[in-house]
């Protein structure tokens, strides 16, 4: 396999809410940085928690891979768009059943034996909260229909 294929598989599993499959793709000590959440930890703990919440909150999640390249250190760099309709609270925002589309960038560091050793993700939470109907960043749970 290649880092490119690993990345495609990672996002296929994310779309299918197969968090356990994603965890099978990572090394035991794989790190995760969810930059906008200021979450830095392990894929098996913090990474999995985020992915489970994403899957629960957006059961119709669609992931569109817009750009993918692999750097010489075997890091897959991807631009994706996630789309879905909110079905549960997400990152503190109440469920208003809003449709969300959000551009994100992910970096997956891939080992020579095709395991993912580090995951870093970037997106704009302000865009996300705007789409979820949140009005204030210091009161995420206050929303407007």
């Amino acid at each position: 396999m290649s880092a490119r294929k690993v990345a495609r598989q990672f996002f296929d599993h994310m779309q299918a809410a197969d968090v356990d499959e994603i965890l099978c793709m990572v090394t035991p000590d794989a790190a995760v940085s969810l930059v906008p959440l200021q979450v830095h930890g392990s894929m098996v703990a913090e990474g999995a928690a985020y992915l489970y919440e994403l899957a629960r909150s957006f059961p119709d999640l669609v992931i569109r891979l817009r750009r993918l390249f692999v750097t010489t250190d075997s890091t897959a760099v991807a631009e994706i768009t996630i789309e879905g309709t909110q079905a549960d609270a997400f990152l503190g925002a109440a469920n208003l059943e809003k449709h969300v589309d959000l551009d994100q960038a992910w970096m997956l560091e891939v080992t020579p034996d095709d395991r993912i050793s580090a995951v870093t993700a970037y997106w704009d939470s302000n865009q996300l909260y705007r789409r979820l109907g949140v009005k204030r960043l210091d009161k995420i749970t206050i929303t407007a229909r």
């Binding site: 906008p36 994100q104 970096m107 302000n126």
Partner: protein, 163 residues
Amino acid sequence: MDTEALPAGSGTTSREATARATVIGFFDAYRARDVERMVELCGDNADFRYVPFEVWGRQRVLHGDGKVCTVGKPIWTALIDAFPDLTNTVTSVRADGEGNVAVQADISGTQTKDFGVIACAGGHYELPHLFLFHVTGHGLIDDVVSYWDNAQWKKQLGWFEVD
């Protein structure tokens, strides 16, 4: 801090080295707040996309999406005008052999003027960014994309409206 390009792997090709050098030069120019130099490092028709940049009006949404010369340059100029001590620290540079470069950089500055909806309260921010470039074989940037978290940016500057 000066730019520290962290090497990514071995076997650097000349295309990769050229792309790295261009991008490092771009951040050097940005750190020097030399917008003309930043633009010089881009091709005449270079594409520009600052993903979080959205201005929601009553009738339409303006996106930070277009060309370096018509959208990028005014945004960089306005940022430096509002944050006159704007600087950056490059924390990683990763490139392939086809001109694609990913740069993680922390950008920081102190606000002295209103910027968009963010009224000036004299706040200081420091924010991680991811930049994705494409550099031609001639060493000119022909595509700039950037991601950051506007929510953190606004909160650090004391502005809490999602807008």
